[in-house]
Amino acid sequence: MMSPMQDLMASLPLAYPELLLVGFALVGAVIGAWGGDKTFGFLSGVGALVIASAGLWAIADRPEAAAELFQGAMVADGFGVFAKALIGLSAAATMLLGADHFRTINEKRFEYPVMVALAVTGMFVMVSAQDLITLYVGVELQSLAAYVLAAWRRDDARSSESGLKYFVLSAISSGLLLFGASFVYGFTGSVRFDAIASAAAEGAGGVGLTFGLVLMLCALGFKMSAAPFHMWTPDVYEGAPTPVTAFFAAAPKVAAVALMTRVLYDPFAAIEAQWQQVVVALSAISMVWGSFGALLQSNLKRLMAYSSIANMGFVLMGIASGAERGPAAALIYLALYLPATIGIFALILAMRRAGHAVETVGDIAGLAQRRPWMASMFTMLLFSVAGIPPFAGFIGKLLVFTAAVDAGLIWLAVVGAIAAVIAAAYYLRLLSTIWFSPPAAALQPASGTIVFTATTAAVLTFPVLVFVLGFLERWADWAVSRSF
């Protein structure tokens, strides 16, 4: 048994990514307080760099075997490392979008990079949580920063409304999470995942444990905006500034998915039969509801909100499909989904008219005639999110279908297939507006950063993927095999 001091010294090197982020947040806050909003550009640039390198550091410095940190409060393992890399890269990309956007609309406030860094810290803690307390701390750190970000444009009524709505609904889900965690603690006698796992394997807890787990699942479903806990998503997506929406659509989703996977496959692996039905139900409802809901939307961001709900349904299909293939499929699905969704938001940001970004589907009418390149990128990204081959999103769908069919959940795969067709209808509606409608008024030229982000995302959806997919697959398998 190591002394607490020895343990701390041994743990610190493995927690460098988190420490780096916290360090940036603290120092950045001081620099910002000293230099005022002039430092916005500098802090954003450095922040994006720090966040990306924190994610890459996690990968570069990955432990060979899972290693406990801070007396078992956290763990550094392959799964966490993979999720951290995804979170770091996507958060950095959206941060750059935000820096550019807020400069354009003159909302330069230095707290933005600091808040994003804190949210990312929370996500890193979430994905490496190894007991219920750490889990809750991570979730709350991430959420609190996210509320502030959602209400970033404080003079804008919709942005404030979105922040408030997010806060109130999210607080309820946090309550559920705590309530469920207290049940779990009460029936197993521990907050540590390994102790819960062995208690669950011995059959301790019974209905009480299941009850606690279901409450926790509801809360986590809320965080990843799975139906029927998705109600906040369209409003928050619509109200929040677009780069913040892009941020919400990417990094926190990874964190929530990774956390849910870890909770299900680590402490509750023994009662898979109980939670599988719940996850299957969440998955089916999300896919169907997300697809139908999006059909009726005319606001681009609301439409993307429903699209993300449906996509989370597909991720949940992966999670529901058992340890052999499920988590790896869910991870790869996310890795392929993130660039596409960030790219779409970048394009939405890029299309500005009379000082305002486009909002409704009608605003992008006839884009193919005004901006053929942009329209082509939009097309690739949308088809990728819709899962149409040969674009990247298709591989994700293929993997979760494979996982589900192997796990005997054929009917879920069929529901997914039908939902994907319904979803294709609204992606096609966007595309038909872009390609088939007479062009709307001319657009302002877009900034370089945003166009660069969108182009990178579009290139990632197909040409690069052919060569990268093999690596990605090996990484995901490695990540999962070292963890569960």
Partner: protein, 503 residues
């Protein structure tokens, strides 16, 4: 000629040459975008050169191909992720369909010469579409097959939606969503098959189906999922309703590709997957498929008779002709399968040519209504003669390529069930009824519509378009053995394996 290309990845070159042409146009368009007639002309020329080059490459592949060889040839195999691999290879059936594709695409580009709207986008999409079509027939990995198979929806969707007729958006949606639903169900079945057989390679799946075989109860479900995709694509009655809409609204060249090649993917799918991989289920469902086929033949012929729109009439005649294809395929006899393959190739040429014929008068009059025409023979004698030939081919007159396919499929079906063959035979009569009526109304009589007075006969470009098609129709009709001997090894192997697996 085959030594010239020894060691070359000829199928990859063939598949991706059109896509490279698309990149060429893309690179050229950067500095010169905008409304520039000279540039548009250049783009059309690039597309034409690339598609002709692709045709030449396909001739090289054909030369390197051993007509008597068994199984897949010209194989390429590069490992990829997910257990899948980039595997290409062709057998006699796919080789002939590839030749059909590469033969028709330059003609389609010529037919698109009158396009004026967003020319470079149009040509890029067309070239990408050709890559995807060739890829479908080359793919020897089921995942790769699916990539190409479904990827083809995207360029077609945009082609119909941007350059189509007045109701084009509706038609594009219907086309895409109908086919997608079928495809996704097939994807679930593909995933299940890979899980059971442990491989995604088509030859290995075929070997597994022959040696071990999929569980007969499971086969029923797999068969239905594949059927959902291929029946929509083919299309079979009653899931054909997307076809008339898509055909009517699509620009001429897209109609040609749709009728001549995309529909064949359904037949090719039955031939490659349903029959050899799920023989028990195919036997089980044969009466069902036969019933749908003869309904398609008779009913679609009757519907075709009542059409007022030329393109719609031809679209319904396609549904009827595809009924012969499924009839022949599911008879499982060698004649039936040979006839089905022949019918697919012949229908590719003839229906493509008929859509081009419609395109010729549409370009001049901008209407497809039968009633607006009449007496064309007085002003356009050459056109009338060519249209006559293809009409007769559509009817299945001996001496044209329409005949051997129909007679062989009926022969094949007759051996299984004489009644179905008898009902199908009435389809031949009905096809004469609607096709000749159409011809009479359009070509014969006096000119009633004053606008037709100034209509001109074929110009040089249109001559170039039609001559190869006329030759193909007559050669395939007068000397069908060239084609039948070529496809015989595949058809024999398939038929023997299929009938051998009969319960």
């Amino acid at each position: 000629m085959s030594e010239l290309i020894a060691g070359w990845p000829i199928l990859s070159i063939l598949t991706f040459l059109p896509a490279a042409g698309a990149l060429w146009i893309l690179a050229a368009r950067g500095p010169m975008s905008g409304q520039n007639p000279g540039f548009d002309r250049g783009v059309k020329l690039i597309a034409l050169i690339v598609t002709i080059a692709t045709f030449v490459v396909s001739l090289f592949a054909f030369a390197a191909f051993d007509p008597n060889g068994e199984g897949f040839q010209l194989v390429e195999n590069i490992p990829w992720a997910l257990g899948a691999a980039y595997r290409l290879g062709v057998d006699q059936v796919s080789m002939s369909l590839i030749l059909l594709t590469t033969f028709l695409t330059p003609i389609c580009i010529l037919a698109s010469w009158t396009i004026e709207k967003q020319v470079s986008a149009y040509m890029i999409l067309f070239l990408v579409l050709e890559t995807l079509m060739i890829g479908v027939f080359c793919a020897m990995d089921i995942i790769l097959f699916y990539l190409f198979f479904e990827g083809g929806l995207i360029p077609m969707f945009i082609l119909i939606g941007v350059w189509g007729g007045s109701n084009r958006v509706y038609a594009a949606f219907k086309f895409f969503l109908y086919t997608l639903l079928g495809s996704l169900l097939m994807l679930v079945a593909i995933v299940a098959m890979i899980g059971i057989a442990g491989t995604s390679s088509i030859p290995e799946l075929l070997a597994y189906a022959e040696s071990t075989g999929f569980d007969p109860n499971l086969q029923i479900w797999l068969w239905l999922a594949f059927f959902a995709s291929f029946a929509v694509k083919l299309p079979m009655w009653p899931v054909h309703t997307w076809l008339p809409d898509a055909h009517v609204e699509a620009p001429t060249a897209a109609s040609v590709v749709l009728a001549a090649i995309l529909l064949k993917m359904g037949g090719y799918g039955f031939l490659r997957f349903s029959l050899p991989m799920m023989p028990d289920a195919s036997h089980f469902f044969t009466p069902f498929v036969f019933t749908l086929s003869v309904i398609a033949i008779v009913w679609a012929s009757l519907v075709a008779f009542r059409q007022v729109d030329i393109k719609k009439l031809i679209a319904y005649s396609s549904v009827a002709h595809m009924g012969f294809v499924t009839l022949g395929l599911f008879s499982g006899t060698e004649q039936g399968i040979q006839g089905a393959i022949f019918q697919m190739l012949s229908h590719g040429v003839i229906s493509g040519a008929l859509f081009l014929c419609v395109g010729v008068v549409y370009d001049r009059m901008h209407t497809r209504e039968i009633a607006c025409y009449g007496g064309l023979v007085n002003r356009m004698p050459v056109y009338a003669a060519i249209f006559m030939l293809f009409t007769l081919g559509n009817v299945g007159l001996p001496g044209t390529s329409g005949f051997p396919g129909e007679i062989l499929t009926m022969l094949g079906a007759f051996q299984i069930n004489a009644w179905f063959a008898a009902i199908a035979a009435t389809g031949v009569i009905l096809s004469a009824v609607y096709a000749l009526t159409l011809y009479r109304k359009v070509a014969f009589g006096n000119i009633e519509n004053p606008k037709l007075d100034a209509i001109t006969d074929l110009d040089g470009r249109e001559w170039v378009m039609f001559v190869p098609l006329v030759i193909a129709t007559l050669v395939m009709g007068l000397a069908p053995a060239y084609v039948l001997d070529f496809t015989a090894p595949s058809a024999q192997a398939l038929s023997q394996a299929y009938l051998g697996a009969a319960p």
